[in-house]
Amino acid sequence: MFARDVMDTRYHTLHAEQNIAEAVAAFQKASKSEDKKIFGMMVTDHEDRLVGMLSMYDILNYVQPKHVAIFGEMEDLDPTQTYRDRLKTTRSILVGDLMTTDVVTVRPDTHVMVIAEIMIKKHIRRLPVVNGQTVVGIVYVSDVFHRLMTLFSAEND
């Protein structure tokens, strides 16, 4: 069983030139069309080559105030207003400014066992599948888990 057997070929991508507001809108649209929460998206150039990954974590990390410990000690602070102010600062920030460029990828013929190993060791929930430099799919940890569990159940039947 290989990456090509478990990968999802209906993936959504971002471009490095999009701003963060556009990226958030793309996350929401992708979640709606897939009917599941999308937490990370691949960033490709205009020739569909992978240039990075952007996760919700990257955006949250940017929006989060550095001195967040102060929040817990102050009852008079309005976190909603603070977040609104922080979100305004993302207007000039592009996907390319926040994305991870050091992306771990697998090939279509990478075995699922190797994929599971990478995901466990590196705490990765999604792995782009690339053929040469072109993206052909994405493997989610949930798909790997369910495929392995299906095999496990079949063995016990």
Binding site: Y62, P65, I70, S92
Partner: protein, 296 residues
């Protein structure tokens, strides 16, 4: 003869209590574009540069703005523009000593090393110490705010923004080229410039962060300031409590607020930098002065 030891709010507190364990580092061969991306992504003012994993220098926003000014390509290696050597301290060093080192060296960040001096395990920044001090002072039972509230149930006389602010406001026009903004920043040694329209009304702000973002996005130094300025102008009334202004800066991750007059017309009359505020400690009261800190 007895020795009198003067203790400040920070006495007895070590670097370990204020340090961040995340070290933002790149090899000297990484390019300027990568350096800027790290500064934006992790909201830091400087990146540690390494040579075969050994610390070899520091590149700051100021260094990158100089590169922007002379139009160095964003592919230039960071090693070619790095400005200073990293200054190190240990996790068990007293914070008071760290502040003295920062003041003597004119830096706002020290790198924390373990037993092995080449191994950097964290950073301690001036702003982190200001945040820590603010929290301590806010919780202090001897503070005039709490004392007076207990006695009379009313708010005490506390420092206001106008007592601490700097009246020198450095401004440029929205049609000025970005290179003129860089000139003003470096000549006046400030972190941000107020941008005005032709009628002298404030329309935005350009900080060092705005400049490095513009550099990464391929903006030319000849571009008009209005194209890269941040809006709106984050300001505070001159009559506002200093502690409220500090809170606004710490929570909003900003290092300065422009000060507007508290009587109409509400013109910009000054600047309040977090470092100015730190001279007056947390700004919460006048109970003690021992912990006032300033890095020039």
């Amino acid at each position: 003869m007895p020795v009198v030891e003067i203790r400040s709010v920070l006495s007895g507190i070590t670097v370990a209590e204020a340090m961040r364990r995340q070290v933002i580092a790149l090899p000297t061969s990484a390019d300027i574009g990568q350096g800027i991306r790290m500064m934006i992504r992790y909201k830091v003012n400087a990146v540690l540069l390494t040579e075969e994993s050994i610390p070899s220098g520091v590149v700051s926003k100021t260094d990158l703005i100089s590169a922007f000014y002379v139009e160095l390509p964003a592919e230039t290696p960071l090693g070619d523009v790095m400005g200073s050597q990293p200054i190190a301290c240990f996790p068990d060093d007293p914070l008071e000593d760290v502040l003295e080192i920062m003041e003597a060296a004119g830096v706002h960040r020290l790198y924390v090393t373990g037993a092995h001096r080449q191994e950097v395990i964290g950073t301690v920044g001036y702003w982190d110490i200001v945040g820590l001090l603010y929290r301590f002072c806010r919780a202090c039972e001897r503070g005039t705010a709490k004392r007076d509230a207990k006695r009379t149930g009313e708010r005490s006389t506390r420092f206001t923004v106008k007592e601490v602010m700097t009246s020198d406001v450095h401004a440029c026009l929205q049609n000025d080229p970005v290179s003129a903004i860089i000139d003003t920043l470096s000549t006046c040694r400030v972190g941000a410039v107020l941008i005005q329209d032709e009628s002298q009304s404030p329309v935005g702000v350009i900080s060092k962060t705005d400049l490095i973002i513009a550099y990464r996005h391929g903006v030319s130094p000849q571009t008009a300031a209005r194209e890269i300025m941040s809006t709106p102008v984050r300001s505070v009334s001159s009559g506002e409590l200093l502690s409220t202004a500090i809170q606004q800066m710490l929570i909003g991750d900003i290092q300065r607020l422009f000060v507007r007059s508290d009587v109409p017309p509400e013109a910009i009359t000054g600047v309040l930098a977090l470092s100015d505020a730190a001279r007056f400690r947390s700004g919460s009261c006048r109970a003690c002065t021992a912990g006032r800190i300033l890095i020039r």
